[in-house]
Amino acid sequence: MKRRVFLRGVAGAALAAPFLSSLHEKKAKGAASTTPVRNVFFYTHNGCLTDKWFPKTTNGALTASDLMAGTLAPLAPYVSKLMVPRGFRSMNQYGSGQTIDPHDQACGSKLTCAPIDSANKRYATAVSLDHVIAEAINPAGKDPLVLSVGAASTSIKEIISFSAPGTAFPATVNPTTVYNQLTGLFGSAPATGGTTTVTPADYHVARGKSAIDLVSGDLNRFKALKMSGADQKRIADWLDLLRQTETGMGGMGTMVSPSSCTSATAMAPPLNITQAAVTAGSPTGAIATGAFVGTNNTGTGAANLATSFTLGGDMMMNLIALSMICDTNRSIIMLYPGYVTFNWDGIMHTHDHHGLSHRTGDFSVGGSCGVANVLDMIQQIDSWYAGKFAKLVGLLDSIGEGDGTLLDHTATTWLPELSDGATHNTNNLPIMIAGSANGYLKTGQVINVDTGTPDAGKSTSTCQDGSSGSIGYTGSMGGNTPINKLYVTLMNAVGMRNADGSKITTFGVMDGMNANPGISNPGEVTSLTTGK
């Protein structure tokens, strides 16, 4: 049952929860069911120890014991809802497309399948998948939810989302920001003191309308001016945001929200999204700008980094679940930065993740192993991220929706920047998909989509003691099916279709960068789908 929900925006600017609007043309004609299907990416940097990450089975049923033996042990409880596609390669591995920087290329091209532009901050030259999906299936076609932890960054090294060619869409890193939008519980206290009002009163609504009138008046004055197309769009899009809010208040009957989108749901287990919990996971000041402990004169920066990665990241996951419950967003990214030194949850490193992944302990590539016990340290980080992915999967699977769980109605993909962090290869990517996207994707399986037996890789073949020997080759062979085909599969899984109702078959280009997309066999990967 759906009912109208009054989310109290700030100062009583009542914001109705989003709705299925006719304001935007959507391609998702196929999403006829009332259960929304969401796409989620969980993104980590610097590769992993691939030969510890991959399940032992290279094609066939995925079992808990497959997972227990390696890095993915925390995922074992959810094995029936997991699928490990083997054999994908993401576009623009350093030297296969461009030769700018392996990380910048990996991030910029990951969800765009397009080259990056060295004259424009190395940003990607195409819009990213999360925006394409968002425009098609999000309520009102609005922007995806891109979340991270740590320090806010506009560097290509921390950006995988692009709202337009050349326009980065950096992540939001403060849970409080997301919380404020979702629940609007940070209403204003009356200026003369007293208690914060939390009950919707008429004056909040009136004030909200007054604000909308004023702001749209301002914007309409700009709209009347001669400006570039890009500037016109900025004004028009802002007016659109106001209109969405305004119609939400006018009550034309089309504004509905899931009945479970309430503050009670937010505050109860398993979400436990209370103001105190959100505050506990939010920064109190500057986040450490370096990768090391005790930065910025006081310990505040480092403490904030640790808080952000632990309580903050976990709260972001809760907010992601709440976004699904409230259906405010169906295209979601959770990414973790790559250039931090782990000093939390029992991990006390003195080198940052990126430096460890090189085996040298710093930015330099190749040469000799440089850090004692480096593989152990990388493993600690890999296991930590597996635990976080398991936490997200477990959370989504613990929340009922319809005849299943939230997880069942998502494709939640652990998508890595690289395979091995020292070799910087993007073939044979360690990818895991949780959730069947409402039955579209197979689960409980390892599915090899490429030719040949998948290679576990040579991540642990060198630097066993860490401080001697040559790093050598730590990559893997094979696994070169373009990831574009996985993306096409996901697009279809969440209900996107072409205007004529046919399935999506292409997304982006492969390593042949110019006219040749390099994908000789377009279309989704049917071996991953149930055929539903």
Binding site: A11, F169, T289, I471
Partner: protein
């Protein structure tokens, strides 16, 4: 000590770090206009057939060897640089068509600008309603696209918190409303006067009568839109409305009187906004606003007078710090932040002192820029800023210093300029050894602006040879890069400056012997600078050469233009870059003057015709 990290940071393309030992890479495809080294016939493109910005009398396909043999003949005029006004860095006149770059007419305040603007307008630097964080902590991350629903929601939340905080504090409240509203008597015009006066500041221009009417309606409807209709509640609502207004959030440039040449001169109000956001990253002050009110910001001379006043304000220091971070790829997640050395080999280093190193270098830039220094001083000044943590690596006694950075004059033979300060030396070297390639590539690409492109795939895993005869790091790297695919870039461009910098170990200490073997450090090189092979004996000679290098001077000018105008290497700005370069070359041109000269261009006080 100002918090440098709160500066206005342009998202910088920072050092790749990862590709082999190359400091940074830019993908310069063959044939593109070189950005200034002007090496005549393709000499600046050792890897290919690119035409440098000099007269390309051949494809330059053979790269360096081609230019070495043809060098003397093909170097374009102006090599002499100083005084000619056209250094080799500037393209021949036929290639540069100065213009006014198209710009957005509705850029939004960045988060850093928002924080400063709120600080200067209302005195709020920490949100008491939310853990005393900087206001922008609750906003969405900066991005150039349209306003998103998350960002818009966050603006409303933050505006409400600020308004509540300001009205709830007797001192801050006066920054918004300094009279007491009443229905009759002296207070009868209070709200109106406040709307006009604060509106003038918030919108950075006078409100139109329509706008005054719209805000007046907020007051008129006060009883309906607040809990009890009290003056304070109405004030809070009014301030909230200003802070969520697009005309506050956007630095609009909409004056529409074309000058006939296809350009639109900005109004004095718009020039004031450009001045204050360029020089301070914040809103105009009262003096600047008064000049705008009198329409006295239309001529270069008028603009210069304000700029020269503003550059002396403490608020300009953050901008200068931010610029140098942009110029040198400093910032979050860069090598500068992440320097790390083997503690058993370098006990004087610890990660805890890296912020001190960075602060020292930023202080160095600050003192040069605000002390009447020049670009050349950046490369040559022997001043350092030392505390007890940094002293040992400079060969000084820690006991002579406290925790604060103290100005010291070092030996100018050993420590000329910022490239011999600890921050750079530590950032561009490895965990347990120096990296001539990292230091050399940074100097070559970032400082001398030679576009050497990226290493071929696999180059980064070329092993470092370690036979007994290679008794210095230099010899090892020289051998490592001697394959024919490597030698062209490395032996002529990248390695030589790096070998000169072998005078400093990986933690930045001066060294005359290789620590592992005792072999003497050899800093004598023949380096390719500005298209000519130059014999250099030591760091002092290298820095002198860089300071005098037209390529390096043009790079500095180019970066200032890019930073100040927020557009990277736009061809429309070629004339500006050229003019500034010539002034640097002539000598005695202070950085402060360079900065104020950035406000003197046509493109500063005009905007381009719009292409819809």
């Amino acid at each position: 000590m100002p918090n440098w990290k709160a500066g206005v940071l342009v998202a910088a393309t920072f050092a790749a770090g990862c590709t082999g030992a190359i400091g940074s890479s830019s993908d310069t495809p063959a044939g593109s206009k070189g950005n200034g080294a002007g090496q005549g016939s393709g000499g600046s493109q050792p890897s290919g057939s690119g035409n440098g910005s000099g007269k390309a009398s051949g494809s330059g396909g053979s790269g360096v060897s081609g230019s070495a043999s043809g060098g003397s003949g093909s170097t374009p005029s102006g090599t002499g640089g100083a005084g000619t006004g056209v250094g080799p860095g500037s393209p021949p006149s036929g290639d540069c068509t100065p213009g006014i770059a198209p710009t957005s007419q509705v850029p939004r305040l960045t988060n850093a600008q928002f924080d400063r603007t709120i600080r200067d307008l209302l005195g709020v630097s920490a949100l008491s309603a939310s853990g005393n964080v900087l206001p922008s902590t609750l906003l969405a991350t900066d991005q150039d696209g349209s306003m998103t629903s998350l960002a818009w929601s966050s603006h409303q939340t933050v505006a409400d918190m600020i308004a509540t905080q300001v009205i709830g504090d007797a001192t801050l409240k006066k920054k918004f409303i300094s009279c007491t509203p009443s229905t009759t008597g002296a207070g009868a015009t209070c709200f109106h006067d406040t709307i006009v006066a604060f509106g003038r500041k918030a919108f950075r221009r006078p409100l139109t009568s329509d706008e005054v009417t719209a805000f007046t309606a907020v007051v008129t409807n006060g009883a309906q839109i607040t809990a009890t209709g009290s003056n304070d509640e109405i004030s809070q609502a009014l301030l909230y409305m200003f802070l969520i207004s697009p005309s506050f959030i956007m630095r609009a440039e909409i004056t529409g009187n074309a000058d006939g040449s296809g350009h639109y001169p900005l109004s004095s109000y718009e020039v004031a906004s450009r001045l204050s956001y360029t020089l301070w990253g914040s809103t105009p002050d009262d003096t600047l606003s008064a000049a705008a009110d009198k329409n006295q910001l239309t001529t270069p001379a008028q603009i210069l007078a304000q700029a020269q006043r503003m550059i002396q304000d403490p608020k300009a220091h953050d901008m200068v710090a931010s610029f140098h971070q942009y110029y040198l790829l400093m910032g979050t997640n860069t090598r500068w932040d992440q320097a790390n050395k083997d503690p058993s080999l370098f006990p004087a280093f610890s990660q805890a002192i890296v912020p001190d190193m960075e602060n020292e270098t930023l202080t160095f830039f600050d003192k040069v820029a605000f002390g009447g220094g020049t670009f050349q001083d950046l490369l040559l000044s022997p001043k350092a800023y030392v505390n007890a943590s940094l002293a040992p690596l400079y060969g000084l006694k820690a006991a002579d210093y406290g925790t604060d950075l103290k100005e010291v004059t070092l030996d100018s033979a050993q420590r000329p300029g910022f490239l011999t300060r600890l921050a750079f030396l530590n950032a561009y070297s490895a965990y347990n050894r120096t990296s001539p390639i990292l230091r050399g590539a940074f100097i070559t690409k970032q400082v001398l602006a030679v576009p050497i492109g990226s290493p071929p795939p696999g180059a980064d895993t070329t092993p470092l040879p370690s036979t007994a005869d290679l008794d210095t790091n230099r010899k090892q790297v020289d051998q490592q890069t001697s394959a024919s695919a490597c030698a062209t870039c490395h032996h002529n461009f990248i390695n030589p400056p790096g070998f000169v910098m072998e005078a400093y170990n990986t933690a930045g200490a001066w060294q005359t012997k290789e620590a592992t073997t005792g072999a003497p450090i050899d800093t004598v090189v023949d380096a390719m600078i500005d298209g000519q092979l130059v014999h250099l004996n030591n760091p002092a000679e290298l820095m002198a050469k860089i300071a005098a290098s037209p390529g390096a001077q043009q790079q500095y000018a180019n970066k200032w233009v890019s930073y100040a105008y927020q557009r990277e290497g736009d061809p429309n700005d070629c004339g500006t870059v050229s003019n500034l370069t010539a002034k640097i070359s002539a000598g005695g041109y202070t950085i402060a003057n360079l900065i104020t000269d950035l406000t003197q261009t046509d493109s500063f006080r005009m905007r381009a015709e719009v292409t819809p």
